[in-house]
Amino acid sequence: MVRYIIRRLLGALAVLFIVSLVTFGLFMVVPVMTGASPAYLYAGKNPSPELIANIEHGLGLDKPIPEQFYMYMKGIVAGRTDLTDGTADGSRPCPAPCFGYSFRYQSPVWDIIKDRFPVTLSITVGAAIIWLSLGIGVGVLSALRRGGFADRASMVFILLFLSLPSYLFAILLLYVFVYGLKWLPPTQYVPLTESPVKWFQALILAWITIGFGSAALYARLTRANMLETMSEDYIRTAVAKGLPRKTVVRKHAMRAALTPILTIAGLDIAFLLGGAIFVEKVFSLPGLGLLFVEAIGKQDLPVIMGLTIVSSLFIVVANIIVDVLYSAVDPRVRLS
């Protein structure tokens, strides 16, 4: 087991290395090759050639590309001390994990990500709670009452939220609850530690937008899985043993039906942790998604790269966690 996790972590490092290599190539090497040095993005309007040269030197862009990549990777692991803003005394300390300095914010990328991450985390956790409880609840219920009223009602719910585009839903929510009914103040993110109430008010619409949409999807998956599991031979065995229906459903059917759903949930959550771009934008929540949008708008390459690597880290780690959990639930899966 431990050996398996170590092997998987090594594999994950390899994946992250490749992701870094590709993003580095895409954002740092390709522009240089096409003659548009990233230094121009950094320098502001109409820079002098000296300034460009200085910046290039400060960013290490004048070094051979393999060395640049080596420095970049080394920075992530051990931090960098060689970054300057191009002036003689403009040394920029960048402790590990160092993804470089943001062109726009003039501060280490990692600090910005650290700063923004709690917002995205809040969105993700809240939304996941909604979609898992609602989705699985509705799915199980409709599978058990197949063809009954609850089943048909949940079908309507599923169809509605699967077909309703989330941008429409988000804007609808915004108009109804913020501008129409005025139940909620115009969104302004406040950290949980500062004011739980305001934090909640700022996030609830985002949670609902993501939560309901995903809940519909999860309800459909859960329903299908539950129906399939309920027709399995081992469920018939459980009934034939004389177990109460409650035990059959909870202990025998749900455990088998929900295991694959948790796998998908793990990956969905990891994906969302990389930033809920659209929802953050609509509700002006300064999370990683919004940061990504801003970074792209400003061509803030170090931030884009840092975010790409961090979000792939989430996915790779979630994959490992999901696999380990799966093997804990399903004894047929062996980790070796």
């Binding site: 081992y234 018939r236 065995t237 009934v239 043993k241 004894p331």
Partner: protein, 354 residues
């Protein structure tokens, strides 16, 4: 058109003397295409210590019958009528919750595919303990001891160690032993075995049949053995019900059915299988055609469209439903061919050519 004599109106309501008695059982599934009459007026009796073999091909209603006895049919999708008397208690009118204390306790079931019939996520010990504790208020430790005892009894080597293994860690034959141990853990008086050896190899099948015979002697249980394999029935059953199109077409002691069968379908089954204990035939004699649709059952005898002896009787076969008529104290046959004539056909035309 004549009706089966034992129609529901004339059913006796007095509790029977047999341990299990099924009277005029009907199981119908309404579907979009029409009513599927899976079991259509089936009656039989089983005593403790005896084995009733129910033989039939797919769609004959044999498995549906077994699940009806255990009350496993979903009441929203299946309509069950008739009477099932188990030890003086009538089961058909009971709700699922009322039958539940009997399931796994007084009557238990083993299924065809032991791998898919065991929950893959729980150890076999857990699953047997669960079966025991749902009917017996004992601690987990006591139940586990009981589980090990049962596993040992059904011939699982190293039972004390293997009780903590998962189903996939056993071979097919061992899994069926586990299923048997689980079914017998509460000392059921009725055991329903639905194709218990069909998924197993022939040498393992021999072991399992041997085990079932031993256990029956030990526990004095009544067994209903459902199978398509005439060899298995001959080996283990005391009485046989041959089913076709949801009805019993021939019923009798195992010797009645194998040594003097009187229904053309039973003949067809015996003639179509190659037999190791006879000289090799040049050609097999298959039953022509295909099994009937259970939605549109043929008029008259259900078997008449495939029956090669139809012409010897005349129109009755396609217009009148034959009744299950006694030809001796133990033997009943549903066929328009007069008993004497069918005996002659069997002795002179069929038996020599098997």
């Amino acid at each position: 058109m004549t009706q089966t004599i034992d129609s529901s109106a004339s059913l006796p309501s007095a509790p029977p003397t047999s341990f299990l008695e099924v009277r005029d059982l009907h199981v119908t599934f309404p579907t979009d295409d029409g009513m599927v009459r899976s079991v259509d007026g089936l009656s039989f009796k089983v005593e403790r210590g005896k084995t009733m073999g129910i033989v039939g091909e797919s769609g004959s209603g044999k498995s549906v019958t077994s699940q009806a006895i255990l009350g496993l049919h979903n009441s929203t999708r299946a309509q069950v009528s008739g009477q099932i008397w188990l030890d003086g208690e009538e089961l058909v009118g009971k709700s699922s919750e009322e039958i539940r204390p009997l399931r796994g306790n007084k009557m238990a079931m083993i299924f065809q595919d032991p791998l898919s019939s065991l929950h893959p996520f729980y150890t076999i010990g857990d699953q047997i303990v669960e079966a025991y504790r749902v009917h017996n208020k004992v601690s987990k430790d006591v139940a586990k001891k009981r589980a090990i005892e049962m596993l040992d009894r059904v011939g699982i080597p190293n039972a004390a160690k293997r009780v903590d293994d998962y189903p996939h860690q056993f071979s097919g034959g061992m899994r069926q032993r586990v299923m048997i141990a689980m079914a017998l853990v509460c000392d059921p008086q009725l055991l329903i075995a639905d194709e218990p050896t069909t998924a197993l190899d022939v040498t393992v099948q021999a072991q399992i049949l041997d085990l079932m015979r031993d256990l029956q002697k030990e526990f004095n249980s009544a067994i209903i053995l459902i199978t398509h394999d005439l060899g298995v029935v001959a080996e283990i059953a005391d009485d046989v019900t041959v089913m076709y199109g949801g009805r019993a077409v021939e019923q009798g002691s195992v010797r009645d059915v194998f040594y003097s069968p009187q229904m053309p379908y039973t003949w067809g089954l015996l003639a179509s299988m190659p037999r190791l204990d006879r000289d090799r035939k040049g050609r097999l004699d298959p039953i022509p055609g295909n099994p009937p649709s259970l939605i549109n059952l043929p008029n008259g005898c259900v078997f008449s469209p495939r029956c090669v002896y139809r012409d010897r009787v005349g129109a009755a076969c396609v217009t009148d439903r034959p009744d299950l008529t006694p030809v001796s104290d133990t033997h009943r046959v549903r066929c328009h061919i007069p008993a004497e004539q069918s005996q002659r056909i069997w002795l002179n035309e069929l038996n020599p050519n098997l």
